[in-house]
Structures are given as structure tokens and as C-alpha cells.
Assembly symmetry: C2
Homo-oligomer: 420 residues x 2
């Protein structure tokens, strides 16, 4: 068996910044990306922000000989933007669309219209079952006052739950994508501590790329400087994470990033830098190395869930306040409508023509409709936040039980991770 | 180990018909349901249509001593309606909201407002890991011309994908709920053939209940006769399904249903009949009995996926037609707005006051807004239908590969089920 299985797996991840008619030099950059992928022939390519299906089909045609297996995940109004190209056979695909993803009225941010999600493809890598996840989380537009923090935290929670519960039969797990979170941000810690996924950047033997592994850098032609403030040198928000299994050990041999400008080309591939990880796969001898964690790890899991619960609770309060405002808008519009009705039937209403009353009525109806739609929107958000908090509480209780059991027994090698 | 693990598991499922201010005698029926559950002390209780959290909390209080572990799944505008009560510890919970669930403008059907979903709880049954699913699919309002058939087929597909991919580490799998499908309906065949779940009604040793296992019967006080046409005797749309694992064999010892009227009570528990299954759990000796299926089973899987793909394609055509209509509404409203603008600035517009023009403008804006919202809605539906079709195609190809491999090798005992 060992002879027919590959010892290496090369994984590539890039946020392509492919918003047609908005992203600069989109067609030219896809041409460059296609060339790069055709030349490098990675085993698995994970792309984000491929918003147009036409661009996906362009790449699919271009890579048909080296990457014959593809899946383009479709969700939301304009799609999830997620695409996978693989040299190995894709056996199955599954999509989980995040329950919270911004607000439809925030048109200039626009995340809501992309059905942000996590996609899973099960890839047969010469007999090994690789569960490969690709994802893209809600963007962070203002770090100081991040109105989407609770949304991103819920997305991180849903991502980790999805990975934990769908990766059980995998020989190895790879997750790549634009998490829109710094390495030590809450959602990132939550994801790593509860799935056992390890960051290729911190685990790699050799690294060749931007300083501190940054994937948004000032040196990129397309980067707007104000996007980086106060991190002038750059930030790391794109990742390749990995995990082995009881049967396989996975190790990151090398990790590299693009570094902004591309040799012999007038501009970079995207406004993000691309990641390439070279993973080594070894048949595992210690069947418990991926399934166990000590009390310290459980304690860390507890702490990070507690922190996340606080963020979700705060988000809940804010969303309840928004729902109350929407309710006041509905009530105000109803009151105005009532007033108009009274004016219509009062004899003193002659100063106001029926047409004017009709116009005012139409305005009131618009307000009423907007208020009602917003009320529905915030009500669904509240449901999601409450559900997430309940799930976090369950996990918290479960960890507490394990921690107590561990302390009582004095054991230091129990299986502390719920699903690792 | 065998001595400390239970040999039996009693599972209860009921659609509670708990729509406050609409469902008849709601409070009285919840009182009766609480009494029944407190008396019978099932291991696991799966409820649907518990639309009000207040009713869930009422049951939670009433059952706090016998069923101390609960989870109420929250999604959509008014909730998923799904609740679990358990005598055994719930370790974890996960929710998957179906991507298609009717239309918000179909107010008299109302399914869209309930965030129909499948909920998973992982229950520790004295050391055994039971993955327990509860779900409720979109209702069928007209069997002859079922406008929701593609939605229910997509829901069935998402349900089976969710079960397949999240049940890998389970010792046993139980799924209960209101599937809103007859036993041989496409979605039901899809679910059973691709998950390996077995129907307790067809598998039970002893059955005590309504004729043919019906769960919507004419003899129920709350049933409207026209709901049953042309199945005057009743229909079977509520189910308890089960599956063992390589470690455990599960068998349905007995299945019973309520039979409409309740002794010493003036009315039934609900407009649906409740199901109670008594399952026997045995440590498995044949580790392949739940992981293998012959070419015939694969062939059946192929056939049913092909059938489902045709339904999804048909749904796609219908939804594209609806999106085109929404687009025409938007264009019509824009044209009218343009006409109004022209009238406003033309000298001959004196026959029409500014107020009238304003009123007409407001009407046009409302049409424009409605058209745009409908366009967004149908666009997301198209994305979901296409994603489902792609996933079905992947599965179909995978099955074809296995079938070909099997025929070539002449083997009759290969693992034909993708994830069983």
C-alpha cells in the first residue's frame, strides 16, 4: 500500500479578487492565474472570490488536462465564490452556507450577496481519503469598531462544527481559504483549538514568502494602504490548515507565498498573496496522536469558547436593539397611515388633495414594508445567535465534565477533544 | 462493557402541530403531551412543530426530572420547530437549515417562515455514541400539482448528505420526524438508499397502530378530510429510521402509533399520530454488515439519483421562468417610472397634478422593489438547484465508477455505498 500512495501533497490557495467590472484587470489576472496553475500543477487548488461562473469555466477549460476534477460551489445571490481544482478524483461535495453573513442593506460591503460558505470535497488521493475544505469568511472593514465581529465568530463556530462533524472518516484534512482573521483572532483560535487543525505557517520546516507570512501586503499593486492601517507591513488572513488522522500523519514540509509583484508581469495575481503548501504524508504509528489532548488543551478550549460566548451574547444584545428599532419603524409607519386615514375622512381635510394623501400613503407603506423586512431579518439573526450560544454552552458543559473527570482521575492523557 | 450498556432504546416522535393562536387547543394538547412523555419516559423524544419557545419551555419544566437533557433548535423567522428531550446526556448539537423551503410570499402555506432544518444531537447512551437526527420537511399541499416537489427533493438530498457526512463516528443512528413524504416517494427512496437508514415500520417485529402505519388519519378529530384526498384511510408521512454501525447492530423490536382519539381525553395529542419505536442494540459481530452493499444496491442508488436529478432540472427550469418574470416586472416598473418622468417635464402634463404623479411614482417604486426582491429570491433558488444537481452528478459518476469496477472484477461484495 505504501508504495502506491503519494508521500507529498501540494496545496494552493488564493483569494482571486474576481469581482467583474469592479476588480482591476480581472481577465488579465485570471489569464496569469491559469498560467501559474498550469505550470505548477499543484495537487489541489483552492480558490476564493471566483464570483463569476464564466471565470471559473475559463479556468476549467485552461486546466482541463492537468486538473480534470473540479467543483464550483454555488450559493447566495452571486455565488459562494469558492472553487476547487484537483488532479485527483473528487468523490463527493457538500456545502454549508453560513447562517450569518452581514446585512443586505450594507450595499457597499456586499458580503451578504455572496453566499459565504464552507465547501467540502472528498478527494481520492491514490487511495487516501482527503477531506478538503475551502472557505471565505465575512470581511473585517474596521478593526477598531468591528460591527461584524459576532457574525464572523458565528461563522467560525459553524466552520469548526462542520469540520469536526464531517471529517471523522478522513485520512487527512486540509482547510484553505481567506478567513479574514489575524492568526490570534478569536475565531482563528476557536477553529484551531476545537478541530485540531494546525497552521501550515507555524508548522512548516521551511518558509519562503512575505514577512511574517502576510497575505495582504503594502507592496501589492492593488492594495489600498488604508486597508492595512495600523498594520503597515501587512496582515496574515489567508491560511492553509492541516490535520492527520489515526492512520496518517501529515507534516508541512514547506510553505511559500507570492510576494506582490510577479516576475515578467506588470501586476500581481490578486490583491491577496497566494499560498502553496507542500505536505508530507506518513503512515501513522501512534494511533492516538491525533485523537488526544491533555487537560491543558481542554482548558484552552474552555477559555476560548467562553470568550466566544461573550461575543455572541454582545452580538445578540446589538441585534435585539436593531430589531426593536425595526419594530418602532413599523409602528411609526402604522401610526402615520392611521393619521392619513383620519385626514381622508375628516371634513377639514380639504386642504390636502386625495392625490397628496395617496402619495403620503404610499410613502408610509414603503416605510412599513421596509420596517417589516428588517424586523424579519433581525429576527432570523437573533435565532441564529441564540442557537450558536446554545451549542457553545453544550460544548462548554461537555468540556467541563471532561475536565472534572480528568482532575478526579488524575489522568493526563485522556481524550479531551470532543471530536478530534 | 456489554453489561453496562443498555440493550434497548425507546424513541418517540411527534409533530405537535403547535402553531399558537391557530392550532386548536394548543395549550391543552401540550399538557396532554407532557403527561404522556412524563408517564412513558422514552429514552429520546423527537418533536416537530414546537413553534413557540414558550411551549418548549413548558415541556422542559414538566419533564425536567425524567428528561433532564434537551435541545431546542432555533432557525428562520419563527424557529425550526424542532426539539429533543433525552434521558441521556446530549454532548453536542448541530443544525443544518435547508437551502430551499418554499416562498415568503406564500403566506397561507407559511413554510418559508419556519426555518425548516435537520438537527443533530450526539447522545451518550451509557457509553454508546448515538447520532440522533430530527427533521421536518416542506409540506405537500397538492399531490397532483406539487409546486414544492423540487424543494422537497433538494431537502431530501441535503438531509441524506448531512446524515452521511456527520454519522461516520456513530455507534448507532436514529432519524425521526415528519418527512411529509409517502413511503415510496422519491425523496424517501433517495434518503433510505443513500444513507442505509432502515424504516422501523417495515423492519419491526411487532406493530401496534393505525392501518398501514398511517400517521395522518381520517379518524383524528383535527384532520380535515380534504387533506387526505385521495387517500381516505390515511397516509404515512412520519417516520423513525435507524441504522447500526460496524460496532453495533440495531433492530426494531416493536413500533406503535397513537390511533387518533386518546382514552379519557376529549381530543387527540395532535393532528398527526405519534410514533414509538423500541430498538434493540446488539454488539455487532459482522463488521461489514453496515458497510457493504452489492451491485444491485448501487444500481438502485444510481436509478434514484437519476430520477432526482430530473426533478431538480425541472425545478430549475420552473425557477428560471419565475426569475424571468421577476425581471420583466422590474423592467416594466422602470419603463413606467421613465414614462412618469417624461410626463412630469412635458408641458402637456398639466392634466395630471404633481401629487398624482408622485403617487404613481410611489406605486412604480413598490413594483420595482418587489420585482427586485423576487429576482434576488429566485436567483438564490437557482444557485441552490444548480449546486444540488452538481452534487448529484458527482455522486452519480462515483456510483458509475464503482459499478463498472464491480462488473469488471465480477465481485458481488464490494463497498458500493459511498459513505455507508
Amino acid at each position: 500500500m505504501a508504495t502506491e500512495r503519494p508521500s507529498r501533497l501540494r496545496v494552493f490557495s488564493l483569494n482571486c479578487w474576481g469581482i467583474r467590472f469592479f476588480s482591476q484587470l480581472c481577465a488579465e489576472r485570471y489569464e496569469m492565474i491559469g498560467e501559474l496553475l498550469g505550470r505548477e500543477q499543484h495537487d489541489i487548488v483552492l480558490l476564493q472570490e471566483v464570483w463569476s461562473e464564466r471565470d471559473f469555466l475559463f479556468l476549467k477549460r485552461k486546466l482541463s488536462s492537468c486538473h480534470p476534477h473540479t467543483h464550483y460551489f454555488k450559493s447566495g445571490v452571486i455565488g459562494s465564490g469558492l472553487a476547487v481544482f484537483s488532479r485527483h478524483r473528487i468523490q463527493d461535495a457538500l456545502l454549508y452556507q453560513y447562517s450569518l453573513n452581514g446585512y443586505p442593506y450594507m450595499l457597499r460591503h456586499g458580503d451578504w450577496f455572496g453566499g459565504k460558505a464552507v465547501g467540502l470535497v472528498i478527494v481520492d488521493v491514490s487511495g487516501l481519503k482527503a477531506h478538503v475544505y475551502v472557505t471565505h469568511l465575512h470581511a473585517e472593514y474596521c478593526r477598531a469598531q468591528d460591527q461584524y465581529l459576532s457574525h464572523r465568530t458565528v461563522q467560525s463556530w459553524e466552520l469548526l462544527q462542520f469540520v469536526r462533524h464531517t471529517s471523522c472518516g478522513a485520512d487527512l484534512v486540509v482547510l484553505g481559504g481567506d478567513l479574514n482573521m489575524h492568526p490570534q483572532d478569536l475565531g482563528n483560535r476557536l477553529l484551531r483549538s476545537h478541530t485540531g487543525l494546525r497552521d501550515c505557517y507555524t508548522e512548516t520546516d521551511t518558509f519562503d514568502g512575505c514577512e511574517d507570512g502576510h497575505t495582504l501586503i503594502a507592496d501589492n499593486h492593488f492594495t489600498k494602504n488604508h486597508d492595512l492601517v495600523p498594520f503597515e507591513k501587512g496582515i496574515r488572513i489567508d491560511y492553509i490548515l492541516m490535520k492527520g488522522s489515526q492512520r496518517m500523519t501529515v507534516k508541512c514540509e514547506s510553505l511559500s507565498t507570492t510576494k506582490g509583484p510577479v516576475a515578467d508581469k506588470p501586476f500581481p495575481y490578486s490583491d491577496h498573496e497566494a499560498l502553496t503548501a507542500e505536505l508530507t504524508l506518513l503512515h501513522s504509528e501512534d494511533s492516538r496522536q491525533h485523537g488526544s489532548s491533555g487537560p491543558l488543551a481542554v482548558s484552552e478550549q474552555m477559555d476560548v469558547v467562553t470568550e466566544a460566548r461573550a461575543v455572541v451574547k454582545e452580538g445578540l444584545c446589538q441585534t435585539e436593539a436593531l430589531r426593536d428599532r425595526a419594530m418602532r419603524l413599523v409602528l411609526g409607519a402604522l401610526l402615520l397611515l392611521l393619521l392619513l386615514l383620519v385626514m381622508t375622512f375628516l371634513p377639514c381635510s380639504c386642504f390636502c388633495s386625495y392625490s397628496t394623501l395617496g402619495l403620503l400613503g404610499a410613502v408610509c407603506m414603503s416605510l412599513l414594508l421596509s420596517g417589516a423586512l428588517l424586523y424579519l431579518l433581525f429576527t432570523t439573526h437573533i435565532k441564529v445567535l441564540k442557537e450558536t450560544e446554545d451549542q457553545m454552552m453544550l460544548t462548554s458543559n461537555e468540556l467541563q465534565t471532561k475536565l472534572t473527570g480528568c482532575r478526579l482521575s488524575g489522568s493526563s492523557s485522556f481524550d479531551g477533544s470532543p471530536e478530534l
